[in-house]
């Protein structure tokens, strides 16, 4: 597929992937759904791991054979934006679950850290470099601790870490794809441009 323009892959196994796609399309970025290995081509320049259920996505990643090729790409520096379940898939340690995803992000997260749906909430918190951002937390995780001093903390909610960047991986406990604020996606596209 030479001559193809760079595009963003959105993992479309389960969850709120369509919301990321419509946000990227509104910003003029080319994006495609990733459902199996055939969807991966050389010109995929970035990857979005959407919200949903991390246990489902983690299982389907292995069932579909996407796990190894995607992990290799993440390790070789392809920019990734991970939201909510996506953060859990990237985390190296999960304090309350034995399942593991890519384990490429040196942080320890806690799943469903705010409890059940009655614990879901919104917050207006500072996000490094962007100012105040309205954030939506849905049965959300948070980051208990970072395991490498190269991990930059980008946001916190009441002291708990809710957003980090480690090299090519931008990972958030909240959902920037819900609503109209595209600043975080813009930042991610900038990472993709710089990597390209």
């Amino acid at each position: 597929m030479s001559g193809e323009k760079p595009w963003i892959g959105v993992l479309a196994l389960q969850g709120a992937f369509a919301e990321h796609e419509s946000m990227l399309r509104e910003m003029g970025a080319d994006c495609r759904e990733i459902r199996n290995k055939q969807d991966l081509t050389e010109n995929m320049a970035g990857l979005i791991l959407p919200g949903g259920e991390s246990s489902v996505q983690g299982k389907l990643l292995r069932d579909t054979g996407l796990y190894d090729p995607l992990r290799r790409r993440i390790e070789s520096g392809m920019p990734v934006l991970a939201t909510c379940a996506g953060l859990i898939l990237l985390a190296r340690e999960i304090s309350n679950d034995d399942r593991r995803g890519f384990s490429t992000l040196p942080v320890r997260v806690k799943r469903n850290a705010y409890g059940r749906q009655l614990g879901s909430f919104t917050a207006l918190d500072d996000f490094a470099g962007e100012g105040l951002v309205a954030m939506r937390f849905i049965r959300a995780p948070y980051i208990e601790s970072v395991l490498d001093d190269q991990v930059h903390i980008l946001s916190r909610h009441e002291g708990k870490i809710t957003g980090v960047q480690y090299r090519n991986q931008l990972a958030l406990a909240f959902h920037p794809e819900l609503g109209n604020d595209s600043r975080i996606h813009r930042r991610f596209l900038e990472m993709v441009r710089c990597a390209g």
């Binding site: 389960q14 259920e53 299982k59 069932d63 749906q117 879901s120 819900l178």
Partner: protein
Amino acid sequence: MEKPNRAEEQYRLNKELAQMLKGGVIMDVTTPEQAKIAEDAGACAVMALERIPADIRAAGGVARMSDPAMIKGIQQAVSIPVMAKCRIGHIAEAQVLQAIEIDYIDESEVLSPADDVYHIDKHNFQVPFVCGAKDLGEALRRISEGAAMIRTKGEPGTGDVVQAVHHIRKINREIAALSALREDELFEAAKTYQVPLELVRYVHEHHQLPVVNFAAGGVATPADAALMMQLGAEGVFVGSGIFKSGNPAKRAAAIVQAVTNYQDPKQIARLSENLGEAMVGINADEIQLLMAERGK
């Protein structure tokens, strides 16, 4: 920032939880062991109930909300969202389910209705509700009462997908017809559907429901699930189809993969192989009790 009121904010978060379930399979389970099998097979949520619809149908009598202790056992067994059913119009059962912090309440025609006129005013609750619908009018009436998610009614406990197909096609057809109306015709449409004008306007403008719409009722095979997804469902409930079949774990995992790969017939073929016996099923036109006729 201008703050929307708490109830509006909660309703939006509740609709968004349904968005996170999209592309997934919600499975009926009756024990913590079944819940674990469902979670390991890739269910995005489980519906905790004492008897699956096929057994409710067989047992007859009044079907009620499940024992809260049984639901709590399932909540402890899995990390995915746990849903549970209350009877149509049974405000107190819904309050009990909210008190044990259920993630979603299904105000369900599968149970015996507690009220033959009124559905629950779901705006009075913080936890989200999913409700069944046979057509666009029912869907919008449930949404105006505060439902944060819709599913087709289908005909539960039959293993016969025909009614779910009928319902989703009808909803799609009515959305298309509504979208084609002139703006000055929407007032009459609101009267016909017996729903607020603002909901009619939303569908007219966006060509879709304002909440997520799943398929339910009679889904028994990977191909059934793929059919419902191709017809526009955003995910699938599987009730009796899994734990009434020969190999629940294998069938559950196959249906989960079929929902993700619904556009890929080769995959559906592979997933349909050697699943063992499907639930026996009853033809939806051979049964006495039409659950889908409960609650309009």
